[in-house]
């Protein structure tokens, strides 16, 4: 079945795709925005810890579902196994309108100047594909600003002395610290560090017609009951729909991008909610499915000129899978530090992100989101008994006395941490599934140890009676901060897209999500993904002259 031709198809209504769809629709292009999931609400799972984005022993509350979706995960010993969406190695993000921006913790970081210049700053790292971005922070700065104002960020304009130059303040004031944050702030200052409140994609005051956050203890992992958390589902996507130019098609699984013999994308093949196959044609196709699914879709889009998948003639699609190596320390205090002023995370230091002797990159350190009761059963110093009266006593005594300081270490990309498509396993629709294989670069462990040491120092300075580290950096990365699999670059032989996110050699096929990230910063990546959405969306809207998009 063929649908009416439109100007642009955007695949994936998440942080990147939601923004691009809005930019194109308000510029007057007709847009179909595909989403494999559906709208979700707070009421479906409210504050149920076992049905949260962070803890999901049963199934994913924000999708994708276990019935229709699969991936293959290759163990470190080379053994492949099928994994379900709710199992950890699946490396899930989300599948719903707004994707991860519905349930995220909403930290709103801009990457730093050096994050775009990792190779220039640190040189070649053996065994890595560390590289500079083809664009600089300054190129993206106006779009970070757009993201902050259109989607909504609360923060202290002058809070972080290490931040890269910014022109405009945040649209909303920063959130005040909770007790934990204030305690860590004082300790960090005593250590000569530079603490500041975390910028958040959450309303600290009424903004954009939505109310202020009232600081529930449950936030990260859940939809917001009062709509105070700012995602694409309650900002740009509604704007796109109100323009009259954008049609959102939920519960649709895109199978492949069709590329013709001239090397141009003509549209997509997809399945609707009743599993009926369709063809949707368009002048422009934008893929925003997050690093794993974007790579899968490109690899599954085979054509005469691209027999190994769209943009994959040099075998770079799916390579350099990154995320963040989370690392840090926890401490038990004599006094209760938990004050129920959610969501927990509110304090950060940027001192360990770049310019630390002997360390490549680094990352932010933050206090943690409140740990709900079941997850807390795993928060233990090494050697602690996990059950019996000892378990119960620990829960009871320490639930309100533990502070954790953690952060996302900027991973060193490597060529073999990758997404391919499995030669045998297919999903519900018969589409070959993503296969994840490889390991993090060995350096990540070193960087994570450095950051965990710093986190422990801060907790000790704050007066923790007992501290211990949880050092990350092993295994394969990906997960909710997944990135890197359609790297942007100037050379078609060593990258997948050009600096506007356009697939090299396919003029009208774009990527707009974390897949583009050459490196993933020492920060949560969502604001960068949104900024790229504004940047790429604007480029397409202003360069398009009608008809099939081409620069030839």
């Amino acid at each position: 079945m063929n649908d009416n031709h439109v100007n642009a198809i955007v695949i994936g209504a998440g942080a990147g795709g939601g923004v691009v769809a809005k930019e194109l629709a308000v510029a007057g292009l007709t847009v179909v925005l595909f989403e494999r999931g559906d709208w979700v609400t707070y009421d479906a799972h409210n504050d149920d810890e076992l049905m949260s984005q962070r803890t999901h022993p049963f199934e994913n509350p924000f999708g994708p579902d276990n019935k229709r979706h699969r991936r293959v995960f290759v163990e470190s010993d080379g053994t492949p196994r099928i994994v379900l969406p709710h199992e950890y190695p699946f490396s899930n993000n989300a599948a719903c309108v707004g994707s991860g921006t519905v349930s995220y913790g909403a930290m709103a970081w801009r990457f730093m100047e050096k994050d775009f210049l990792m190779k220039s700053s640190y040189g070649h790292v053996e065994g890595s594909t560390l590289e500079d971005w083809p664009i600089a922070y300054q190129d993206l700065e106006p779009y970070y600003e757009k993201a902050e104002w259109e989607i909504g960020v609360s923060g202290d304009h002058n809070g972080n002395p290490f931040q890269s130059p910014r022109r405009k303040p945040y649209p909303m004031p920063a959130f005040a610290y909770n007790r934990d944050g204030q305690m860590l702030h004082d300790a960090a200052e005593k250590l000569g560090l530079h603490p500041f409140p975390i910028p958040m994609l959450r309303n600290s005051v009424r903004y954009n017609g939505r109310p202020a956050c009232y600081r529930m203890r449950t936030c990260v992992g859940f939809a917001c009951p009062v709509n105070a958390k700012c995602g694409t589902h309650n900002t740009v996507i509604p704007v796109a729909l109100e323009s009259g130019n954008c049609e959102l098609r939920t519960n649709c699984q895109v199978a492949e991008v069709m590329v013709n013999d001239k090397g141009l994308a003509t549209g997509v093949k997809y399945f609707d909610e009743n599993d009926k196959g369709h063809i949707q044609t368009a002048d422009i196709v934008v893929i925003s499915c997050a690093a794993v699914e974007t790579a899968r879709l490109l690899l599954n889009s085979k054509s005469k000129l691209f027999p190994h998948g769209a943009g994959n003639n040099y075998d770079w699609v799916g390579r350099n899978l990154q995320g963040h190596a989370y690392t840090g320390a926890s401490g038990i205090f004599e006094e209760e530090i938990y004050d129920d002023v959610g969501p927990g995370a509110c304090w950060a230091v940027g001192d360990f992100n770049h310019d630390n002797e002997g360390i490549i990159g680094g990352g932010a350190l933050c206090n943690s989101f409140f740990t709900p009761p079941y997850a807390f059963t795993r928060l233990r110093p090494p050697g602690a008994k996990q059950w019996g009266l000892e378990h119960k006593e620990f829960q009871r005594k320490n639930y309100k006395r533990i502070s954790s300081v953690r952060g996302p270490f900027q991973e060193i990309p490597n060529f073999d941490a990758r997404v391919t498509v499995d030669p045998e396993v297919k999903d519900h629709w018969g589409i070959p599934v993503a296969r994840l294989s490889g390991q993090r670069h060995a350096y990540d462990r070193i960087g994570c140890q450095f950051m965990a040491d710093r986190a422990e120092e801060i907790l000790k300075e704050a007066g923790a009676a007992l501290t211990w580290q949880a050092v990350g950096g092993r295994g394969l990365s990906g997960d909710q901060h997944q990135s890197g699999t359609a790297r942007m670059g100037d050379d078609p032989q060593t990258s997948v897209t050009d600096k506007y996110g356009r697939i090299h050699e396919i003029d009208n096929l774009f990527v707009a999500d974390g897949s583009l990230h050459v490196t993933n910063g020492g920060f949560n990546p969502v604001l960068t993904i949104m900024a790229l959405g504004f940047y790429i969306g604007e480029y397409i809207a202003t360069s398009w002259k009608g008809g099939t998009f081409t620069t030839r």
Partner: protein, 182 residues
């Protein structure tokens, strides 16, 4: 409004708390008794309620015909193995062992040190970890999944329950996000 929420809350959790032990959906009575004994070892009653009081076994039974259907066989065979091993080691079924013997048994099972011959294809330490993990989910998760009856674990941790959305801190006269919780 707050009263209303509490009322709704108790209606929602009523079935989990009143289910009789003879109406299991998957478990046999013997299996249920065994799971009650094991989970009580994991989270024993003291001044606060334990796993039995929290009706953790309801969670097992409910999930074994729901999300944990895939674990049915492991549960069935695994619980048999536990009793077989208890009889071989202590000459009694698990539930008939003294408290301290039960503890000792589980400590050995946790590290896979019980005699191998009673376990067939069941990996004793994996089974231990699964039972422990499911017990924790039952005791600390939402009552809607069958356990945590009357939010006993939330009371123990001194966090408010049910979690009344915003009612406990939202002052509609002020939009100040930085007001501290009372």
């Amino acid at each position: 409004m707050r009263q209303l929420c509490y009322t709704c809350g108790s209606i929602a959790i009523l079935p989990a708390c009143t289910a009789k032990y003879s109406t299991w959906r998957f478990l046999t009575d013997d299996e249920a008794k065994l799971l009650i004994a094991i989970s009580e070892q994991f989270i024993p009653a003291d001044k606060d309620p334990g796993a039995t009081d929290a009706k953790v076994v309801n969670f097992f039974d409910k999930q074994l015909v729901g999300y944990y259907k895939k674990h049915q066989e492991t549960y069935r065979k695994g619980l048999q193995s536990i009793d077989a091993s208890a009889i071989n080691t202590f000459h009694k079924r698990f539930i008939d062992l003294e408290w301290d013997q039960q503890t000792k048994f589980l400590e050995s099972m946790e590290v896979g040190k019980l005699p191998k011959e009673d376990w067939g294809e069941i990996n004793q330490s994996s089974l231990f970890r699964m039972l422990l993990d499911h017990t924790m989910q039952a005791f600390y998760g939402s009552p809607r999944h069958g356990g945590n009856c009357n939010y006993v674990s939330f009371k123990m941790l001194k966090i408010d329950y049910p979690h009344v959305i915003g009612q406990n801190r939202y002052n509609s006269n002020s939009m100040d996000p930085n007001q501290k919780a009372s």
